[in-house]
């Protein structure tokens, strides 16, 4: 039974940077959507096609 794959230090670092970048993007989107609800008010989803 193997202990599985052990990533190199460089791979671990890249994965961490990717995770941080993804978190920042998601956090930014959450802030944007939050602010948009104030700008557009309760009708934010009321968009006629």
């Amino acid at each position: 039974m193997s202990d599985g794959i052990k990533l190199t230090e460089e791979q671990v670092r890249r994965r961490r940077v990717r995770s941080i970048a993804l978190a920042l993007v998601l956090g930014g989107l959450a802030v944007l959507f939050y602010v948009v609800t104030f700008v557009k008010g309760p009708g934010v989803l009321d968009k006629p096609l």
Binding site: I5, L7, T8, R14, V17, R18, L32, K40, V44, K47
Partner: protein, 314 residues
């Protein structure tokens, strides 16, 4: 698939025995998938289209519109890298791209691009308006299906028709404000549409060997250097009045009109010099046309932004 079950024993396939077999792309590789240099011009022209459009728009909505356009353009770039991976590997200009260089799997680029494309269109529709979102979706579709899949490998006119994808962003910015389009928005589209062929062919003249090696039928490869020079000159002559047109339509003011006239004449001058250049002088002359074409577009849209976008002309 982490293990193969072979009956009584479970064994690991050799393919995953080493960490080096796992590609862990850097965050920068995913950013490079978005073609940031192309995206910067898309964002700039879309921003100008948004700023010069008549009517108000809340800054937060404007920011969301530009963000969606940027991400949509990036998605198109990622999808393009997925489908052009075979020819990107053959060209010196593109072989270091993340998919071509093997840092990101084609399937990853496909998933990344599709997700961003759908997300950018949906967010644009919900936050900005569905007219702008529809044109954004059409732009991504046009770049991938019409340009990348259909035209790029089949005809030397690939960039003439495919260039429309790069010309839509100011119209999307305009539609983000107005919810519709107008003659002025079409003029901004035409400006980039007519500018694209001489811009792209000047680069193609410098990189003809690359395109020939990859089998991409760019004009210098198919029709030769002389025909390409003539076409660049013809398009520069056509571009000059198209560049001034926003002044005649009333969208732009006299400063823009004067700058557009001077820059248009200069573009014709550079293209004329390329037309007359000897074989030896052609690469340097083509590089000058390419560099000036970028300056031309940036300056025209900058003056339009300063004069009309910031209210000096209305």
């Amino acid at each position: 698939m982490a293990h193969l079950n072979t009956g009584n024993e479970t064994m690991e396939p050799a393919a995953i025995a080493d960490a080096a077999d796992f590609r862990v792309a850097a965050a920068g590789d995913y950013f490079a998938l978005l073609k940031p240099r192309v995206m910067s011009l898309v964002v700039f022209t879309a921003f100008v289209g948004l700023m010069v459009a008549p009517g108000p728009i809340h800054p937060v909505i404007a920011f969301a519109a530009i963000l969606c356009i940027a991400v949509g353009a990036g998605a198109a770039g990622a999808l393009n890298m997925r489908y052009d991976v075979d020819i990107d590997r053959l060209m010196s200009r593109t072989r270091t791209r993340p998919v071509a260089a093997g840092r990101i799997e084609p399937g990853e680029a496909l998933g990344f691009g599709l997700f961003l494309a759908v997300a950018s269109v949906l967010v644009c529709g919900v936050i900005v308006n569905w007219a702008a979102a529809s044109l954004l979706a059409f732009t991504i579709f046009f770049y991938i299906v019409v340009y990348t899949w259909w035209l790029k490998r089949r005809t030397p006119h690939n960039i003439v028709i495919g260039g429309a994808a790069g010309a839509f962003p100011p119209m999307i910015g305009w539609m983000a404000v107005t919810g519709g389009t107008s003659l002025d928005a079409v003029l901004l589209f035409l400006l980039i549409f007519v500018w694209t062929p001489p811009h792209s062919w000047a680069l193609a003249l410098c990189k003809a060997d690359d395109y020939a090696r990859a089998g991409v039928p760019m004009l210098p490869v198919v029709s030769g250097v002389r025909t390409t020079k003539v076409q660049i000159f013809a398009y520069s002559v056509l571009l000059a009045p198209v560049g001034v047109a926003p002044w005649f339509s009333g969208l732009a003011g006299p400063v823009y009109g004067a700058v557009a006239a001077v820059l248009g004449a200069a573009f014709v001058g550079f293209a004329g010099a390329l037309l007359r250049a000897s074989d030896k002088a052609t690469p340097a002359s083509a590089r000058r046309v390419f560099a000036f074409s970028v300056l031309y577009l940036v300056l025209l849209f900058s003056v339009l932004l300063a004069e009309t976008g910031f209210g000096a002309w209305s």
